[in-house]
């Protein structure tokens, strides 16, 4: 999908500098994708305590090692 966006020359230059890309369109695309990636990644912060999570990593490791108890 192709869209038109209004940005100042300074903003486009800054995007090229930050993304290390010479092409304006590629720089804007990369910046937008990176913004989305970080926004989605940071959504993890809101789920703490709201999911059904069983802390079973210790028993999994103990199972692998054939131990009856986890080392302290």
């Amino acid at each position: 999908m192709s869209i038109n966006v209004e940005l100042t020359a300074e903003e486009v230059a800054a995007l090229r500098q930050v993304t290390k890309l010479q092409n304006d369109a590629e720089a804007v695309s990369k910046a937008a994708r990176e913004f989305l990636r970080l926004a989605r990644l940071r959504e993890l912060k809101s789920i703490s305590g709201k999911v059904e999570f069983e802390a079973n990593w210790q028993s999994l490791e103990a199972l692998e090692l054939g131990e009856s108890t986890f080392p302290s």
Binding site: L44, S48, V51, F53, A55, W57, E61
Partner: protein, 131 residues
Amino acid sequence: MEDWVFVDTCIWSSFLGKPNSPEKLAVDDLLEADRVALAGPIVSEVLLGFRRKDQADWVASRLRLAHYIEPVWNDWRAAADLGRELAAKGHKLPLTDLVVASVSKRCNAWIYTTDPHFDCISDLKRFWPGK
């Protein structure tokens, strides 16, 4: 990569289950700074902790957006060498920990863990929040 922090399963466990824990606050900061790194064994261990597939799928879709390092041939070899070396000293470590340690060493990245197994490995860059 040197600023990245491999967040181990034990930390994700506290992050997901204890909203007021210091681990939750520390991972929040790492997410904000885009420093969270993952390797396959951590992803599997974390997702195994979910009873509900819809919740596991949602978390997986978000974890996929963190920095992800695939273990390569030399990481598996290094994990074996490390495991052998530690076993000779009387320390038996799970393969998942050995691989994560090897990958973090290769990347010269930090590792954030409270798993006592990692205390046996001397030359790791351990991440301690606030230090």
